[in-house]
């Protein structure tokens, strides 16, 4: 077998440097990353990258910052496997590899001019943060903005400082709930679906954007359909273990679609008949 260096490869990563790392919960860290030479990642909200630690492996991570922040981007990483645990041990200045961005993100052009109902469960707030911050940076291009957020308990809350700022804005309707709370918690307690009935919305001009753990979709979508939001206007983003990011390796396939190329963002009409999706 001969071996040669080739110029073109889909698998080579761009060199990237960790600028900042922040521990957000016992299990999640936020990394601010910049590509070598200050190159822009040039992503759409909702897209993902393949983050690589040389010698350990690669993982798909959704980009959780808005493309309006040009010189760096954020990744929120939960330590669950070999690579994510290794990522948590990295420090500012350490180099990683970045491939991407990959996939179809949230369809910003279609969302513009409409009302948004953003429903985030658990780690689902990470990809949605890229959309939320984009919308807030371009606030007048959108109609009403509702943000509903749910997580297991107050100590699992991500982006706490930003949640407060969303809450304080007069042009955003923000509510959050936790499944379980300690006595000092003054907010809502209950699963996220309990927040939906209280939202005052015009279904025809509302796009619902839902991201959360697999179990959440079924219940939330049922509520949204009950609110008469058209199926095409319910957007979801799926988590799959992409390996190549290019529709080849087969890992992220959901029946006839590849999550990495056709998704990870889908509208409900596209995938409602796919039992493997949920």
């Amino acid at each position: 077998m001969d071996k040669m260096v080739i110029k073109e490869s889909r698998y080579i990563s761009k060199k990237a440097k960790i600028l900042r790392s922040v521990r957000m919960t016992s299990n999640e860290m936020l990394f601010e990353i910049t590509l070598e030479g200050g190159e822009s990642l040039d992503h759409e909200p909702g897209q993902f990258v393949m983050a690589s630690i040389y010698g350990v492996g690669e993982v798909p991570v959704s980009i959780c910052s808005s493309p309006t922040a040009r010189n760096s981007f954020d990744l929120c990483v939960r330590a669950v496997g070999k690579v994510t645990h290794a990522l948590h041990k990295l420090e500012p200045g350490d180099m990683i590899g970045i491939r991407g961005p990959y996939g179809k993100g949230f369809p910003i052009r279609i969302l513009e001019g409409n009302d948004l109902l953003i429903v985030a469960g658990g780690l689902g707030v990470a990809p949605l943060r890229s959309l939320i911050n984009y919308v807030l940076d371009n606030r007048r291009d959108f109609g009403k903005v509702h943000i509903l957020l749910g997580c297991k308990s107050p100590k699992d809350m991500l982006f706490i400082n930003e949640l407060d700022s969303w809450n304080e804005r007069m042009d955003v309707h923000y509510e959050c709930t936790v499944d379980r709370a300690e006595p000092d918690w003054a907010g809502n307690v209950g699963v996220i679906t309990t927040l939906i009935p209280g939202v005052d919305l015009e279904p025809e001009r509302t796009f619902a954007v839902v991201v959360g753990p697999p179990v959440m979709y079924k219940f939330v979508i049922k509520e949204l359909l009950g609110k008469n939001i058209p199926e095409r206007q319910i957007l979801v983003s799926f988590e799959r273990h992409m390996k190549c990011g290019m529709g080849k390796c087969g890992r992220c396939q959901i029946q006839s679609v590849y999550c990495c190329q056709d998704g990870p963002v889908f509208n409900y009409e596209q995938i409602k008949h796919m039992s493997e999706a949920f």
Partner: protein
Amino acid sequence: MKDVQYLVLRKDNLSSFIAHLSKDQKVMAPVSKGYGNYAFEEVTSAEQVALKYIPTILPPKKFFMPQRETLIEYNLQSGLEVNAVLEHEKMTLFGVHTCDLAGIQCLNMVFSERPKDYNYLLRKRGISIIGLECNEYCDEYASCNIVNSNMPNGGYDLFFTDLGDCFVVHVNTQVGDEMVERTKMFEKPSRTHFDAFMALREAKSKIFKNEIPIEPRDIPELFDRSFDSEVWKELEQKCLSCGNCTNVCPTCYCFDLLDEMNLDLNSGRKFRKWDSCQLEPFAKVAGGENFRKSRAARQRHRYYRKFEYPVAKYSRFFCTGCGRCSRACMADIKLKDTLNALIKERMNKLWIKWL
């Protein structure tokens, strides 16, 4: 283009033809492994080649997408040096049956679809292909007729048809023509050769029959309606999740991407290796959720990746009818049986509707 595209190679010249080819590159051909098994291995003479063979244990995809392939090499010292690499080898495949030619065509479609896979496409350039016609039906596992891969449909440089004491050779490409010119062993066919050739094709059309009671064009619709079929639940009981069916499939191309460090802990590589949707962790995500947890769902996924999903995307079946998956299954999951069971179940449902 020259008008003469058919030539003849006398069988007693085959050995020197192969010897000639193997002077400057490897020649890979089917060889017997015993117990009715064959494999594509390197040969240097015609005696080693099994001219009459049933599909090899692994299809020739192993040359196009190696089981383990280094994609990236890196060195963390000296400010992180990263290189994309291509592992490649110039070779000729001799004796590739039409089912396997179809398999290679499927892989070509997948890896040349954007975003293109350069590693695959560059390696493919170094591989010449000499096809070999099947004069007879392999065995009860083959179903090449229903997917129309029992006859040559391109995908080769030269194509050999065995006429007993000689081969009729179709020259399909410039690369094939160069092999002919270089080896200087081919003759012009006579009328008798053509008659024998046509008689063989005629006889084949009688031997190769579609034994599955469905028209190929109706297969996607059958699958459209069979997602919740009981047939998959039966496979749940049988399947051992050994991955044999996908590893031996000429059109299965799923892979895993992995990192490997050298012992110096400074240099290493990224490589890909064959993976299988039949193995339990394949569709598992970090949180522990497995989107195809049951064996039934995994088997169903395999069948849909042959008969439905690629039809929508590439307008062709990704089953070549080679029968390898059925031959390799210890649990007796047979492709023809599965299709027959789906058809039967569908017919029963239709009857109930009409009654």
